[in-house]
């Protein structure tokens, strides 16, 4: 049931790559029956490996898909104030009207947003002037105020992207993505290319701006330690499906899917010398996924049922869902500080 504080509701979403090259037809089920909702004022982390379909999923959420990727089934509804819109059913103008103003993105490489041969000022004008819909003078006033709020000097508007360091450029793209105070921000691995010291600062900045504006952020990365520090809730994607979803602390301390349990349990930590086991096998090929639970060939808990029947994503606790036939038997592989109950 869609609650009033959900900003995005996704139901039974399926998006496939449908391709034909010289007679060989392929269908890749990159997003396969995903149902989730994202609340106002939360950071929702999406975790998954390469080719798990997480990138396709957020492209679908961002209404930025291009053939051969197609939405085949399901619905996707955004609620911005009294605007209610499904980008795949609405008119193109209506979708364009919400971009940047209500729905914006922070991308992996800052260079894909900032035009390398133009001053940063121009990039702000290109992206944000029209969506903000105010006169020029007010636009620049608001932009400068926004930069100051993010502890950036308005002087950087006059700089060229190459004059800034990688970390500073990423900060500028965050400022650019948030200058219109959007309610919904999609962040696609915004810190993977950054060094550790800068990464922490940039993450803190995203968290900070999110809290100031009360926006919702969908944060995608494969790095569980980033999720640990950023996300309020995490959705784990495996082979095109959402396999587990729950509050961050719960997923770390009491995972209910063997894949999650492995992901968080095998994280090496300073001060911890215990041997960390690796997960055998390889992520499945989405063009030809295994039957039943897609994780079963690599799963230490797999039983015969897993090979034939697809486990549904069902509630296993408070706002905690898992798609595993043996979710009760999943044990955490490592401990993280104190258990959740003791802290709350």
């Amino acid at each position: 049931m869609a609650q009033s504080n959900d900003i995005l509701t996704v139901k039974g979403l399926k998006a496939y790559y449908q391709m034909a090259y010289f007679g060989i037809e392929r269908e890749v089920r990159a997003v396969d029956d995903v149902t989730l909702s994202i609340r106002k004022n939360e950071v929702y982390g999406i975790a998954g490996e390469s080719s798990s379909g997480k990138t396709s999923l957020i492209k679908v959420l961002a209404a930025a898909i291009r053939p051969p990727l197609k939405v085949v089934d399901g619905s996707l509804t955004y609620r911005f104030g009294d605007i209610e819109i499904d980008p795949y059913k609405a008119k193109k103008e209506d979708v364009d009207a919400i971009r940047w103003k209500h729905l914006s993105y922070i991308m992996q490489g800052s260079m894909s947003v900032l035009n390398p041969v133009r001053r940063i000022k121009r990039s702000f004008e290109d992206f944000a002037f029209r969506p903000m819909g105010v006169p020029k003078k007010e636009f620049w006033e608001r932009t400068e105020a926004h930069l100051r709020r993010l502890n950036l000097s308005p002087d950087i508007l006059r700089a060229y992207p190459h004059e800034l360091s990688g970390g500073m450029r990423q900060r500028v793209t965050i400022a650019l993505a948030t200058v219109c105070q959007p309610e919904f921000i999609i962040a696609d691995e915004p810190t993977t290319a950054l060094d550790v010291v800068v990464q922490k600062d940039v993450l803190a900045m995203i968290r900070d701006v999110q809290q100031q504006m009360g926006s919702s952020v969908v944060f995608v990365t494969h790095d569980m330690s980033v999720h640990a520090n950023m996300a309020d809730r995490i959705g784990i994607v495996y082979a095109g499906r959402l396999v587990e979803e729950g509050p961050t602390r719960t997923l770390f301390t009491a995972p209910k899917h063997p894949y999650t349990s492995h992901l968080v349990g095998s994280l090496p930590r300073i001060g911890d010398t215990s041997p960390k086991a690796a997960l055998e096998g390889r992520p499945p090929n989405l063009a030809d996924p295994p039957a039943g639970c897609r994780f079963h060939p690599r799963c230490p808990l797999a039983i015969d049922k897993c090979k034939t029947d697809v486990p549904p994503l069902v509630a296993v606790g408070e706002s905690h869902r898992s798609a595993c036939w043996r979710s009760d038997d999943v044990k955490p592989l490592a401990t993280f500080g104190q258990p959740a109950e003791a802290l709350s």
Partner: protein
């Protein structure tokens, strides 16, 4: 290989049309092997006959059956174009890959010569060759000379690709696997430059055939060998258009346009097929 061609014909309309156009010309050129007449003889038929059931392409003012005359002309022109393309590809691949992979002074020396060849005015030099060699300048020699001038632009293109490949990790991996420089260039890097090689080969054929036509029309080749160029030379010499023997000019021009369009379509289709990225997609990767 046969399966690839079958796939291409079935799924790629450009390839199918290109095949038909080039195929018609090739069959026409091959027909010359069964010619009942010797193309070098003149006044073997009634001159200036328009196209008819007896003379499909008419006859020219020199009393030759244009059908067989053009069949020989296209055979020679195609052979010439192919020779230039193959020879100049060999030079440009070798120079491009060597310069790109080895780099350093090898690159500097090769590119120095490359740039000299880029700068040389080809046309006057070819005319000079004609004046020195006169009737010794047959088709094969001319093809060889043209090949020596037809490589530098493409060598630079190939070099730029090879330069990028040199810094890829798989090249270093190959080095530490003990592969020799020759093996790395011709087995690891060559597949990446093949699309350029094919695209430029056909562009090169179009260039060399065009050049041959120009030289021949002006009379700077051995005009007794039937080629598309010399056919037009004789037509011009006999003021074919003025005296109303339009088929002498129109038919060869139509056929050569057909050939060029066919070659162009084949390049487009082949590039799509051979491009490493589209190849990878077909293989199921990337």
């Amino acid at each position: 290989m046969l399966a690839i061609v079958k796939d291409l014909i079935r799924y790629n309309i450009e390839f199918a049309i290109g095949c038909v156009l080039v195929g018609v010309i090739v069959v026409f050129a091959l027909a010359s092997f069964f010619s009942p007449v010797d193309p070098t003889l003149i006044y073997v038929a009634i001159p200036d006959q328009p196209p008819s059931g007896q003379y499909w392409f008419g006859t020219n003012s020199r009393g030759q059956d244009m059908f067989w005359q053009l069949s020989f002309a296209f055979r020679n022109t195609l052979t010439f174009g192919l020779m230039v393309a193959v020879l100049s590809r060999i030079i440009s691949i070798s120079v491009g890959l060597l310069a790109g992979y080895l780099g350093g002074w090898v690159d500097r020396v090769l590119m120095f010569f490359n740039d000299i060849f880029v700068a040389l005015p080809i046309f006057p030099i070819l005319i000079l060759f004609y004046f020195v060699m006169r009737s010794d300048l047959d088709m094969y020699r001319l093809a060889f000379v043209m090949a020596c001038f037809g490589w530098p632009f493409d060598a630079r293109l190939i070099r730029s690709v090879a330069l990028g490949l040199r810094h890829r990790e798989f090249t270093r991996h190959a080095v530490f696997s003990g592969m020799s420089a020759r093996r790395i260039m011709f087995e690891e890097h060559l597949p990446y430059v093949m699309p350029i090689v094919f695209a430029t080969a056909i562009a090169n054929m179009i260039w060399s055939i065009g050049m041959e036509v120009t030289l021949a029309v002006l009379g700077f080749t051995n005009v007794n060998i039937p080629t598309v160029g010399t056919t037009l030379y004789w037509a011009n010499n006999h003021s074919a258009m003025v005296v109303g023997v339009w088929w002498w000019i129109l038919i060869p021009v139509l056929l050569i346009v057909m050939l060029f369009i066919g070659l162009f379509l084949l390049t487009v289709a082949m590039n799509e097929y051979i491009d490493p990225r589209s190849r990878l997609r077909r293989m199921g990767g990337a």
